[in-house]
Symmetry: C2
Subunit: 107 residues, 2 copies
């Protein structure tokens, strides 16, 4: 069983543009919810709910600093995505080789 064991599906988590944008923002370091929500037109509770999805997918972790909830990026589960996509690189290469062979044979 891959990274997303607890219950969240990484592929589902990153399917939402909002959640991808949240992750992108978190690349600059831990950010409190207030600052995260500031970048979106949706309500703060909506952001909290997106963060929940990311948390269940283990893509972010939460820590408490006073009354602020800092969210921190945890890119680990993205390796599953990367691994899956990478499987298609070979397919591309094979196709390119096939094309080259075709061109060669037609020469």
């Amino acid at each position: 069983m891959p990274h997303d064991a607890p219950g969240g599906d990484v592929f589902v988590a990153i399917a939402s543009p909002v959640r991808r944008a949240l992750l992108d923002t978190l690349r600059q370091g831990p950010v409190p919810v207030r600052d995260l929500a500031a970048g979106f037109s949706i309500s703060r509770p909506a952001v909290s709910q997106h963060l929940r999805v990311l948390r269940l997918a283990d893509l972010v972790s939460e820590s408490w600093v006073g009354r602020e909830h800092q969210y921190r990026l945890n890119p680990g589960p993205l390796q599953d995505v990367r691994a899956w996509v990478t499987g298609y690189e070979q397919f591309w290469k094979d196709r390119l080789v096939g094309l080259r062979d075709l061109l060669d044979s037609g020469r």
Copy 2:
């Protein structure tokens, strides 16, 4: 504007395990719908509907051989996914460097 211009979102398309499995199957070459559907417990129309999503995301192309509809893998749009995920590799590397520095300084 990325690969998925026509209307389909690649990230959404690959969020479904069924659709990922369909793509995986297509790596072995063009396959008619009948053979694709054989690998799943859902109905054939359901598979057709998943294929529609993949088609809108430009992840597959369709060709007609007699009464068979051959589906062919087009991994191009996956580059968008790959590109996005790759952005997080640097994050990982930075974190590892930071960890090494921390370990070094504590030595």
